[in-house]
């Protein structure tokens, strides 16, 4: 129950493509209000991942919809980082 409440106050992080491999031991939730803040927090323990997240070709989605990098994050949001897609 406590973890559920804490989860609602945090941002849920998702990674896809090459980023998912770099993020294998990254936190699943984080407390932040902006994407830059998320990346800065990841820099400490995951510098390679944080560097890749700053690449201009990385796509960002908030609550499963494509978003720009200046979005204000709210508690409970799902923030997704995606490498350029390669389907088909």
């Amino acid at each position: 129950m406590v973890s559920l409440v804490i989860g609602r106050l945090m941002i849920k992080l998702l990674f896809f493509g090459r980023l998912s491999e770099l993020a294998y031991d990254a936190p699943a939730i984080i407390k932040a209000t902006s994407i830059n803040e998320v990346i800065d927090m990841l820099k400490v323990k995951h510098p390679l991942l944080a560097k890749e997240l700053n690449a201009p070709q990385v796509l960002v989605a908030v609550n499963h919809k494509l978003s720009d990098c200046n979005v204000v994050l709210k508690p409970g949001d799902a923030l997704t980082f995606m490498s350029p897609v390669t389907g088909g």
Partner: protein
């Protein structure tokens, strides 16, 4: 327009999908289809065969991104039916990955719509490929020709 859009692990039956498009409407005068397969060699061409390909997707976005592509193609061409099936998971060389089929009154709409959908899937659908080769894995990089192909439609 009648639409089928699916993400699935299982193989698909190209003949059944094709026949369904043929039978969809009495106004159908053309059915154009494309089937993409797992290539058996790696990107450098140095190795005769890859072991397998893993297709990762973003469940909450994959189908919606494909549906958006179908909406776009329907607004640009005169179509009667569209079928888009994309597989995910572990596939081996020669396995079908993607099927795109279009039923239309005339052939030009079918040819162009099929190409449009594939060019958009390559660059817009929330799907990623990882190749396994000689016990090593690498993520497939974006192909510059795919990005150029997209610009043709913009």
């Amino acid at each position: 327009m009648h639409t089928i859009c699916r993400i699935q692990n299982d193989a698909f039956d190209v003949v059944k999908l094709h026949d369904a498009l043929c039978e969809n409407s009495k106004n159908t005068g053309a059915v154009a289809t494309f089937t993409g397969l797992v290539r058996g060699f790696d990107k450098s061409g140095e190795h005769p065969a890859i072991d397998y390909m893993y297709l990762q997707h973003y469940p909450q976005m994959t189908e919606s991104s494909l549906k958006l592509i179908i909406e776009q193609v329907n607004s640009r061409f005169d179509l009667l039916a569209a079928t888009v099936i994309h597989r995910i998971g572990k596939l081996k060389p020669g396995d079908p990955i993607v099927f795109v089929g279009i039923a239309s009154e005339h052939r030009r709409d079918g040819f162009q719509a099929t190409q449009f959908i594939m060019d958009y899937i390559k660059t817009q659908a929330a799907i990623w490929k990882q190749v396994s080769l000689n016990d090593q894995k690498y993520w497939v990089e974006v192909n510059k020709t795919d990005l150029l192909a997209l610009k043709y439609w913009q």
